[in-house]
Each structure stands twice: as structure tokens, then as C-alpha cells.
């Protein structure tokens, strides 16, 4: 399950080699998508922002001093871009719920359960949603989630457990089971 425990080293040639960078995209896309989805609570936005994150990473990769820290570095870029995106949303006064509803309507590939689950996930706060996304989308362990989010393992464990409990609470309150 925990497939990302070891940071993938970035060799010096990766700075310049597009092919190697596309390998990094492959290695880290699930993690970055999980963070973006977790923070933005909207699949379409998460898709767009994940792309922005990797494009930004590609153009800035020469600023990455410690070549073994691509994971934390690209995660930071993702967080910054997501925060920026959230700020823009506030400025534009776009109702999050409205966007989420539109998005779920657009998503034709989801079955009913997935659409519902997505809507429920959107009701969780970011601090609970992000660990949950990292756990399921990127197969991260609590230890790895702690590393990615720069929190303690105990906090990661608590957030993940509470996320499950909150999710259950919402599902129970809404009535009916999945």
C-alpha cells in the first residue's frame, strides 16, 4: 500500500532532461493530485492545478538545491498554488458548493456512489480531507502522510481517524448507506 515511502532521488541529469521529468510526473502525480483534490475539494480544479504544479516544477527545477527532496519540494509548490487558487476563489466570490455541484454534474464517468462520496468528502474540512486523499490516492501510510504534510505521526493518525469518523457521521446523518 505504501508505495512512496522512499523519496525518489533526482539525478543531476533530471534537471535538464524532459524525459526524466516526465518520469517524476508519473511518480508524484497521484500525490500532488491528492493534495490538490484535498485542498480544493473539486476534481476539475485539482486536475488543472496538478498540471500547473508540475509545469511550475519543470521551469523551477534548477532552484531545487537538494536533489533528493523533489517530493517535499513539489508538495510545497502544490500547497502554494492551491492556497493561491483558494484566495482567487474568495476574491471571485464563487460559491464552493455551486462549483462542486457543477463539477459533479459534469463528471459522467462516476457512478452514483462515487458522486455521492465525492460530495460527502467535500463536506470534510481540508485538514481531514487531505490526509484521507493521500492515504487512498497515493497509498501513503500515516508515517508518510506525516512527512508529506510536515506534521507528527500522531497528528496524522488522529486526523486520518477523525476523517473516517466525520465521514461516517455525515453519511449516517444523510441517511441511507452506500
Amino acid at each position: 500500500m505504501d508505495r512512496c515511502d522512499n523519496e525518489k532521488p533526482v539525478t543531476s541529469e533530471m534537471n535538464i532532461d524532459g524525459f526524466a521529468y516526465s518520469q517524476l510526473v508519473k511518480d508524484y502525480s497521484a500525490r500532488i493530485f491528492a493534495i490538490c483534490f484535498g485542498m480544493l475539494s473539486n476534481r476539475a480544479d485539482a486536475e488543472d492545478v496538478t498540471q500547473q504544479v508540475f509545469l511550475k516544477g519543470f521551469s523551477d527545477i534548477k532552484q531545487l538545491r537538494d536533489k533528493n527532496k523533489f517530493g517535499p519540494w513539489i508538495t510545497q509548490i502544490a500547497k502554494h498554488i492551491c492556497l493561491d487558487q483558494l484566495r482567487k476563489r474568495k476574491l471571485n466570490n464563487i460559491a464552493l458548493k455551486q462549483m462542486a455541484t457543477n463539477d459533479s454534474k459534469e463528471e459522467i464517468n462516476y457512478d452514483e456512489d462515487h458522486s455521492r462520496l465525492q460530495l460527502v468528502l467535500e463536506q470534510l474540512t481540508e485538514e481531514y480531507r487531505v490526509p484521507l486523499m493521500l492515504f487512498y490516492f497515493d497509498g501513503q501510510s500515516t508515517k508518510k502522510i506525516a512527512e508529506t504534510l510536515e506534521i507528527t505521526v500522531a497528528t496524522a493518525q488522529t486526523r486520518l481517524s477523525r476523517a473516517r469518523q466525520k465521514l461516517r457521521e455525515i453519511l449516517s446523518t444523510e441517511g441511507g448507506e452506500q
Binding site: S22, L55, F135, F137, S161, R168
Partner: protein, 428 residues
Amino acid sequence: MNIDCEKIREKLAELINDHIDPQEDSALSNHLKQCPGCAKYYNELKHDDEALSDFANSMQPVISRIEIKINKQLETEKINTIPIRKYRILKLAAAALIFFGIIVTLNQFGILFDGSSTAWAKVSQIILEVRTITFNISIGKGPVVACAASGKKFKQELPNGIEAIFDYDKSKMLVLNPNDKTSMNIDLSGLPIMPSNMFGNLKSTIEILKQCPDTIVKRLGKKIINNNEAAGIHVYLDTSIDLEIWYTTKDDVPILILAEKMIGQTNVTFSDFNFETITDESVFDLRTPENYTKIESVKMDLKNLSEQDLIDGLKAWAGLMGNKFPEKLDLAIIQEHSKDIEKMLNEKGTTDIEKALIVIKIMRGLIFISQLEVKWYYKSDNIELGNANNAIFWYQPERSKTYRVLYGDLHFADVEAENLPKTLLRTD
């Protein structure tokens, strides 16, 4: 729900985080047996866990789609002027081409070189695992050249009998002319760490195809090749790699591989493979045979290339081609124009060593370009050597806000982005 149940439920959520079964904890297990509420809650948590896993799995195609989009965007936004995957392929091709390009220096002898499926898994494996091989190759419309490869040693024989032996590790090449029993040594330095010959290049290409999830494999049907029934597969990756592989239906051994645009815009054909037939490494011996006369040695340094190498290379090219610049800055251009180069060199009556040096100059300029890691652009339409008003090339050096622009009289100038020559602004 009492306090105990509340704590138990927190613990149950933690167990799911750690993929642990509550049966492993006797206290928990006992509680679940006695408390239907918590047992139900645990089942619900398990159900949520499965639903979330299922949801995440359903997102995998979305993530793959993102990866494809990112790679496409990297190309279309021209973060590198050369598309990402192509850039890699070009780099792979570069080293192999350096070798082929060096053959051009054979002017010394008055000669220029002209020039979804299990099947895919099996065929690619055969190629990737081969240690020694002999095969024929033709580049574009060039002649068929017999080749032998073993690790980083490579040998090729031109149709006129000229043999070139290349040892990548030693960075040395020996060229033998059996017609007049002469030999030439070429010392190379600064070779890139890349496949050392065209077969190595093919191997790397196949490796990339195997690694990339976007690789598409399609069947091409069957036909008879060299009296063997052969089946074909078309294996490609967006627009950057395109192979047509024909293999025997009897034992899945490849017999013909057509690599589209393997060198720049030029197609390469590999055929007549013989696997693991080289038993004697002496075929790659770099020592001059006893009955051969050694003539001048040539040194070629591929390190520390600079703008000046580009200037010198373009000057050398234009000097041969009636003041015209090459239509593209691609290493394959030497192959494509090899006959013209040969003709002009002979018309100028240059000595053998002068010929070799001219070709090396052109190659160094092209290699400088192939190693640029930043944006660059080139367009030479109707601009002749000496034209100081029109630009033919620009690139943006690393960390530079301005651009280096090269004009037809081969002088470089620093130019602000907004002042880039309109003729050289990209429209694609």
C-alpha cells in the same frame, strides 16, 4: 454510546489506518462481540474504506490523463523548444549520429557515407537482452550498411568495403580502407554518455516504449520477408517514437524494424539480424592490421562547445553551399546532404585533412545546438551568409533575461524579448 464505545470507535478507525484486524487485539475483539453498535460501526468503517479505495481507483484514469496533459503541455508551451520526449530521443540519437557523422570524415578516402501484445513483449525482450548482434542498417535513402555490435564496441562496413570500428569506452575509432590498404585513427573526446551506436539507440528507444504507459501497440498483419512468414506490429508513442517491427511468426524473432524519424526527420531501417553470432571480439580490434599503412590521425573534441562553434559550423556550411545556411539545425542534416557536401568538398579541391576538419566544424556547431538545454529557435529562409540585417537564430541562455540573437553575418547580439526579430518569432 458510552465513553468506552467512543474510545473503541476511535481505535477502530486507527486500525483501519494501519490495516490491522481488530481480532489481533483481544480487548477490542471481545468488545465487538458484546457491543452490536460498535460491531455495526466497524462494519460501516470497513465499508467506507472499501468505497474510498474504489473511489480512488476510479480516479486512476484521471491521474493518467493529467500526466498525459502535463507532458503535452510541456511540449506545446515550448518550455523546451524541442518537445520533451523528442528531446530525449534526439539526445539518444545524438551520440549515435556523432559516430555516423564521423564517418563523413572519410573524405580522406574520397568517400562519404550516404548516407498490445505478447508479440511486442517477446520481440522487445529479444532486442533488449541481446549481447552481440550483426545487422544491416540504412538511413533514409542511404545505402545498406553492414554492422556488428557488442556492448560498446561497434563496427560497420560501407558498401565500398570501408570499415569503421568504434570503441566507445576508449573513445577511439579505426577506419580501414581495404581498397588501398590504408588506415586512419580518430581520437574522440567529450563523447556524451549515451548509446554508442544505432543499435544501442534502438535498444534505448524500445526501453522507453516499454516504460511508457502511453505506448500504443497495433497489429499490422502478415507478409513474407526473406522467405519467412512475418507478422508486424506498429509500436508508437505520441509523435515522438514510431517503430514498425516485423518478426517471424515461427519464433517471434525480429527480422525487420523500420524506425520513423529516428534521426531528425529521417527514417532508419534495421534488417538481417543475427543474434549472438559474434564469438570473436577481435573483429572490434582497434589496432592497425600489419599490411595496412597508417595515415594521419584526426582528433575530435566534443567538449566545451560554444557559440563560436555554431558560428564556425554555419560558416563552414555556407562556405560549401553557396552562402546558404542549412534549412534546420539537426544532426541528421549531414546525412541528408552528404552527397552535396562530398561534391562541394571535391570541387573545392581541399586536401583530405582539410575536408575532415570542415566536416568536424559543422558537426561541432550542430552538437552545440543539440546540447542546448534552453529555448532556441532557428529559421534561415532565404538569408545568406553576410546578411547583417536579418537574424537566423536565437536562444535564451540560462538565467538570462535577454536573448542571444545570431544574424546572417554570423554576429551575435543581446536582444530584449520585445525586440526579438519578428521573422524569428514563433507562431506555432
